[in-house]
């Protein structure tokens, strides 16, 4: 992992013209083998007790890293990145003669940082970002320093989509944010040619310059100085600055108590001005343009090969008042100037812009000037209390300013009491389209007629009228019940559609349309109301309509949905003719319109309201022959919704057959089986949940070395079962076998597992055939576009186009260029197919208890199973001979060992072997769920009773995923504990994981920022677990808390869990506070307790 840092560093000298450049440096944990000097320091650092010192990539490594990993090219010659690498100096927190690592790196290294530190300036090899710009060079100005804007955008992209093993430091992220926001100055033309006046001894010089004049820019500077980390100000071009030296405080390499840094605001302004200057003077301009400005100030501002100095003050004197008047803002006067456009009732009459003023304190109190001039002097005086004493002077000046921006205004100023102007229809159109914006931008308020506002606007559109072909419309009453039945769209539903010309939603005849196209003005009164016309567009629409009116096309429902989502603004889709289609599209786009299903009769439990709506959505979608993705937040119960859907489907099927009066014995009630593919670590959980909620459903797990491999036997197996559960890896390995069945439905749990379209696993799954497909995921897939595509490629192949098309049409425009239009189109496309409820939804919160508890059943891996079995065998032998205290000790030790095995083989073996997910499904499941929670911005707690597991978990979560972790165990000092708690709870801290030992974390701690609590291993007393859980579930907790308890299937964990549940049922009988009550069990009972159920092993 490499942490990228960077900063704007001003040039060393403090000459009159002082520029700077953006420098990039890379911090890493690894020491380069061929850097002997650093080896030295690293040894000394690691020998000392304390933090691990960072390493900074030196020139050769930096050049190699930038070119090879990040694809940098040299600015002047393609290959030579090294030419732009040189030493810069950074004032960094320092301790023990070593710079401290950045927080990003410290987190990664898991190193504790000392509380006391001093400051020292460290030399670091930096890459100067610039670009060779012939234009700028010809102008003798900027050195292409603005190149960093684009470069940072690229780096951000690389880091965000993990295209390289890099992370952006907060400093680099800051500069990226700022540079993007700063673009507004250039995009809004908020800068002017300018002169700077410099005193030189007794005389003076003037320098051409570009000056930023913008209230928005001042606001930007204000906001970003607050965001700016101090490290952004710590870069220097030299070891010690003249200013510091002058004060006699040489910091030459010696540690200082105080840091000498750049002041934030001035540094930000310096960077901004250099950036603007570079962009403006680097703009390619043709010779013809230079001819237009020859000899002028603009020319000097753009093209001075050297900064021209002038001994003549006249130019400055001419320029200065002009600049001052531009800089003088509207904010100085206490009122707004308002312009209200009135459209005439009779189209032959003129339009009017009425002049009004409104006090800034009461902007809604608009006074028309016509009224004002009529007032008696004492009434005017009263108003001036709000409008300002010199109101009339200010007003008239402001009107003059407005007229200069919008010249037709002059006509209204041929009087000393201006009140309004009149416009013809073309001028009114220009006003609406252009002048209104300019006036608003320069601080006036513009009030436009209601029909022009986005809400009130009528548009000429093509209406796409659609209706379903197959739905027999007579029995519409049947459909209104909201129950899926066959009278709905069938699988092969076709949609008819035709185009119609319409305005403001009303149909328009071809003749009327033609008249509008031929209208002489862009604003017309049509059927008594004003509207805007875009004749060129309307002509196009008419041509399109003429081409298509003859055909009477039909498409499949899916194609129809694709077509409507991709229609531009010119086409309005209308289903109003067809109630079936209308209700259908309504329900697809507004899931709150779904009628919750009844709790299925055979469902052993109670669905929550939103879960009933979820089941209803699933059945509705499947009824239409569409395939969706259930993407509810983790903890909201995707599993039970799927199980309920299976039951509900069965019920409907039975009812259907009953209606048809088929004798019971002849009914083929059983539907073909559903195939469920899940990660190995959750297969066991599915099986257990099915047993719990739908015990009568026949489900089998396809796994293990003794699984059926013969096709015939496999078919028979499938016939016997309602559901077959398998893992992703077996779906690939047994692809042939699985593909031999036409499935009723394929459910993909954790569907992001097929995100790589090239993986054999993905390809195998895509080949399978099924009537319905369903994807489940808890990660917000709409933000990871390629994952989204992959899932849709499984659900509705072709709907989002081929991968390359998708990349071109959506991924690149949206992720790289923030293309809003395409992102709206994509949203429209996928929305009907994704049901995502988040736990912060108002309706979900209402529906959920404040604490939601669930068990997570995990299987043992083969390795765990063999360790477990060996231990059990060993104990059984010893148990025969053990007695008294010895027997007690043996039982307790066994329980301990078995629990360790259930956690992870490495914990049991204590051989320092790899702590990997392959060896424990429990760990694998935990890390999946943790990443899901973190991606959602949630913080979480993980409890364990074992210190070894706590250590390993922290290390694992931290080093593998670089999550922000905290770890509290028995050995943590009180001070450290309080500090960690405060940091964890701080809203400014990133979502974090707090690992706690069950005992140390049990009392006196409030960690309400967490809303997920994991119990990695089980304690035999639920009261202890509950008390731990309450760290998060406390006063101050505003979110629902999800409690996840791991249970290893087929092991003592599961049996003890069962016992606890049974005891709970038995009037909450109290089990002992620790495990000693288990020693009271007789030998046989104990053997039964710890015996391993072999069917619960998963590879």
């Amino acid at each position: 992992m490499k942490i990228l840092h960077g900063s704007w560093i001003p040039d060393a000298h403090a000459n009159f013209v002082q520029t700077g450049a953006f420098y990039l440096w890379v911090e890493t944990a690894q020491h380069s083998p061929d850097a002997p000097a650093n080896k030295e320091t690293s040894r000394s650092a690691s020998n000392k007790k304390g933090f691990r010192a960072p390493h900074y990539l030196a020139k050769a490594d930096l050049a190699a890293f930038l070119t090879e990993e990040l694809g940098f090219q040299g600015a002047s010659s393609k290959k030579d990145v090294g030419a732009d690498i040189g030493v810069r100096f950074f004032e960094l927190p320092t301790a023990q003669q070593q710079p401290l690592p950045s927080l990003e790196l410290a987190r990664y290294l898991e190193t504790d940082l000392p509380e006391a530190f001093e400051w020292r300036r460290w030399p670091i090899d930096c890459y100067r970002i610039h670009r060779f710009n012939s234009q700028a060079k010809a102008n003798g100005t900027g050195a292409g320093v603005s190149a960093f804007v684009a470069q940072l955008k690229e780096l951000h992209f690389i880091a965000q989509y993990q295209l390289a093993e890099v992370q952006l430091g907060a400093d680099l992220l800051f500069w990226h944010h700022y540079a993007q926001a700063f673009k507004q100055v250039i995009l809004k033309d908020h800068y002017i040619p300018s002169l700077r006046y410099r005193k030189v001894k007794k005389t003076f010089e003037t320098y051409p310059h570009w000056e930023i004049i913008s209230e928005a820019y001042e606001d930007l500077i204000g906001r970003y100085t607050e965001y700016m980390p101090l490290v952004c100000t710590a870069g220097f071009a030299q070891q010690a600055d003249a200013a510091v030296l002058a004060k006699g405080k040489s910091s030459k390499g010696r540690p200082q108590k105080e840091a000498c840094l750049h002041e934030k605001e001035s540094l930000l302004r310096h960077c901004s001005e250099c950036l603007l200057h570079d962009v403006v003077t680097g703009t390619p301009l043709p010779q013809s343009f230079y001819k237009q400005i020859e000899g002028s100030l603009i020319y000097s501002c753009l093209k001075s090969t050297h900064w021209t100095t002038s001994t003549e003050l006249s130019l400055y004197k001419q320029w200065r008042p002009w600049r001052d008047r531009i800089a003088r803002t509207q904010s100085a006067v206490p009122f707004y100037l308002c312009f209200q456009l009135h459209s005439p009732a009779d189209p032959d009459e003129d339009w009017e812009i009425i002049f009004k003023v409104a006090p800034k304190q009461h902007p809604s109190l608009r006074i028309s000037l016509a009224d004002y001039w009529q007032l008696k002097p004492h009434q005017q005086m009263a108003l001036k209390l709000q409008l300002g004493e010199s109101f009339e002077q200010d007003l008239l000046l402001a009107l003059g300013d407005a007229a200069r921006i919008y010249p037709p205004m002059w006509a209204g100023l041929e009087t000393d009491e201006p009140a309004s102007i009149f416009l013809d229809v073309d001028a009114a159109f220009d006003f609406l389209n252009e002048a209104a914006w300019i006036l608003e931008d320069s601080g006036c308020k513009v009030i436009v007629p209601g029909w022009w506002t986005p809400q009130g606007r009528r548009r000429a559109k093509l209406k796409l009228k659609a209706s379903s072909r197959s739905g027999d419309r007579e029995d519409a009453s049947d459909r209104s019940k909201g129950e899926p039945s066959k009278s709905y769209f069938s699988f092969e539903t076709l949609v008819d559609y035709q185009y119609e010309l319409s305005i403001g939603g009303e149909p328009v005849s071809e003749q009327e349309w033609q008249q509008l196209v031929e209208a002489q003005t862009p604003l017309v009164q049509f059927r008594g109301q004003w509207m805007e016309l875009d004749q060129a567009k309307m002509q196009e629409m008419m041509d399109f309509w003429r081409q298509h009116r003859q055909d009477n096309p039909e498409v499949s429902l899916l194609d129809f949905m694709q077509m409507t989502a991709q229609q531009g603004d010119d086409v309005e889709v209308d289903f109003s003719r067809d109630r079936t289609l209308l209700t259908m599209m309504d329900r697809l786009t507004d899931t709150s319109a779904l009628v919750p299903v009844q709790n299925p009769k055979k469902f052993e439990g109670q669905l929550r309201d939103y879960q009933k709506r979820g089941v209803s959505w699933l059945s509705y979608l499947e009824g239409l022959g569409l395939n969706g993705c259930l993407a509810d937040d983790m903890g909201l119960g995707k599993t039970v919704q799927v199980i309920a859907r299976l039951l509900q489907e069965e019920e409907l099927q039975a009812e259907d057959l009953k209606k048809k009066e088929i004798p019971e014995e002849e009914r083929m009630t059983a539907l073909p089986p559903t195939l469920l593919i899940a990660p190995t670590s959750v297969v066991g959980n599915w099986h257990r949940e099915l047993q719990k909620f739908a015990p009568h459903l026949k489900a089998t797990v396809h796994h293990g070395s003794d699984r059926i491999k013969d096709k015939k036997a496999f078919k028979a197996l499938c016939k016997r079962n309602d559901l077959l559960i398998t893992s992703f890896s077996l779906a690939r390995r047994d692809a042939d076998l699985i593909d031999s069945i036409f499935w009723h439905r394929i459910v993909l749990d954790e569907a992001q597992n097929i995100k790589n379209p090239k993986a054999a696993q993905t390809k195998a799954i895509l080949k399978l055939s099924a009537r319905h497909r369903l994807a489940l995921t808890g990660t917000p897939i709409e933000n990871r576009l390629l994952d989204l595509w992959s899932i849709f490629n499984f659900l509705n192949p072709g709907y989002l186009g081929k991968e390359s098309q998708f990349r071109k049409n959506f991924e690149l425009p949206i992720q790289r260029n923030n293309d809003r239009q395409q992102s709206v189109v994509l949203k429209k496309l996928v929305e009907p197919f994704i049901l995502r409820r988040v736990k912060t939804d108002e309706s979900i919160i209402k529906d959920l208890p404040s604490k939601v508890e669930q068990k997570l059943y995990c299987n043992l891996t083969k390795e765990q199973a063999s360790l477990y079995e060996a231990t059990v065998r060993d104990v059984e032998k010893q148990l025969a001979t053990a007695d008294g205290i010895q027997r007690k000790g043996l039982i307790l030790a066994t329980l301990m060992k078995l629990k360790q095995i259930c956690n992870h083989p490495a914990q049991f073996l204590q051989d320092g072997s790899d702590f990997t997910t392959e060896r424990s499904h429990k760990l694998s499941r935990l890390s999946d769920m943790v990443s899901e929670a973190i991606a959602d911005g949630d913080s979480l707690l993980v409890f364990t009773q074992f210190k070894e597991i706590g250590d390993s978990l922290e290390k694992y979560l931290h080093q593998t995923f670089h999550y922000n972790t905290y770890y509290l165990h028995g050995g943590t000092s009180r001070k450290k504990r309080d500090q960690m708690m405060a940091e964890f709870q701080d809203p400014e801290t990133d979502p974090s994981i707090f690992i706690l030992s069950l005992k140390a974390g049990g009392v006196g701690i409030t960690l309400t920022k967490a809303n997920h609590v994991f119990h990695f291993d089980r304690w035999w007393n639920p009261a202890v677990e509950d008390q731990a859980t309450d760290r998060a579930f406390r006063i101050g907790q505003k979110k629902n808390v999800f409690v996840h308890k791991f249970v290893s299937v087929g092991t003592l964990e599961e049996r003890i869990d069962q016992m606890i549940e049974d005891k709970k049922k038995l009037a909450g009988a109290i089990v002992g506070a620790d495990e000693s009550w288990l020693t009271e069990l007789d030998n046989d009972a104990f053997k039964r307790l710890i015996a391993l159920n072999k069917s619960a092993i998963m590879d």
Binding site: L103, A147, H177, A181, E258, C260, H262, H270, L285, A403
Partner: protein, 279 residues
């Protein structure tokens, strides 16, 4: 087209003399105005006085380089009539607003006409005099002075009022009882701000001492978290709004082409030709 004027009133002013002066004298006059022959040029009230170096011309008996005195005198409008004009101007926001940024409203003569007057002089509204031997009036020297005067008026239209007999103090005094007149006087008499000397072209990055007590978090992460989304500013629909407020041909723009048009073109190019940075 001449190079001396770029405004409608400058053009009109020149057109007057061009109507009754022969082409040769006009063109010689232009070169006088352009060249280094004008020793002095002074406008005082309604009278212009210039000293112009003549050329040696044995045909006219001129053997040493002469220095001619050329004067132009304009017909003043009477004080009483000016009072009426000022009252009329004060009643129109448009007129004073434009004068304020150095423009003469293009319909100003309509206002003058209602009083039977005109602002821009015509043939008869001025007399020229020159000490040169040319018998023709206007001679090339008078023409030259006229060109210089046109250029002057082009830049500072209030000079025109002075030429027609209205001193600036009288103008301001006459305007002092209307709100706009007051604003106008204020702007005109505002003292030009003294030049503001700066120590550096760009804002100078300053240094600060940061105490040791600063936390590692402040140093590496900043006191406030960055927003989760990156701002994406959109380009303006209409170019050069900022500079349009001050009208075309600002005082420092000596060229004859439109400043606003140039700046519109310029801003648009900067916005559209820097795709690598601005996209």
């Amino acid at each position: 087209m001449s190079n001396f004027t770029r405004t409608w009133w400058g053009e009109t002013f020149l057109a007057t003399i061009e109507q009754f002066t022969d082409k040769g004298r006009l063109s010689r006059g232009r070169s006088y105005a352009n060249g280094r022959k004008v020793e002095s040029f002074e406008v005082e009230g309604d009278r212009v006085t210039a000293h112009i170096k003549g050329s040696v011309n044995p045909y006219y008996g001129v053997y040493t380089e002469p220095l001619y005195v050329t004067t132009l005198e304009f017909e003043p409008i009477s004080q009483a009539k000016w009072a009426a004009v000022i009252a009329l101007m004060a009643s129109k926001v448009s007129i004073l607003s434009k004068l304020l940024v150095g423009e003469i409203p293009d319909n100003i003569e309509e206002s003058f006409e209602t009083l039977g007057l005109r602002l821009l002089p015509e043939k008869g509204d001025f007399t020229g005099h020159c000490t040169c031997p040319d018998w023709s009036n206007p001679c090339k020297h008078i023409a030259g002075v006229y060109y210089l005067l046109a250029a002057e008026i082009d830049r500072d239209p209030l000079k025109l009022f002075e030429l027609r007999g209205l001193a600036q103090e009288d103008l301001l005094a006459g305007l002092s009882d209307t709100p706009l007149g007051i604003a106008f006087s204020k702007e005109l008499t505002a003292e030009a701000a003294p030049p503001e000397p700066v120590e550096s072209l760009h804002t100078r990055p300053e240094f600060v001492s940061v105490a040791r007590s600063v936390s590692l978090n402040d140093f590496w992460q900043g006191e406030k978290r960055l927003p989760s989304t990156i701002e994406t500013p959109q380009p303006t629909n209409v170019p050069a709004i900022l500079i349009k407020k001050q009208g075309d041909y600002p005082p420092f723009w000596q060229r004859n082409n439109s400043f606003i048009e140039v700046m519109e073109d310029f801003y648009t190019r900067v916005r559209t030709k820097n795709g690598n940075i601005l996209d």
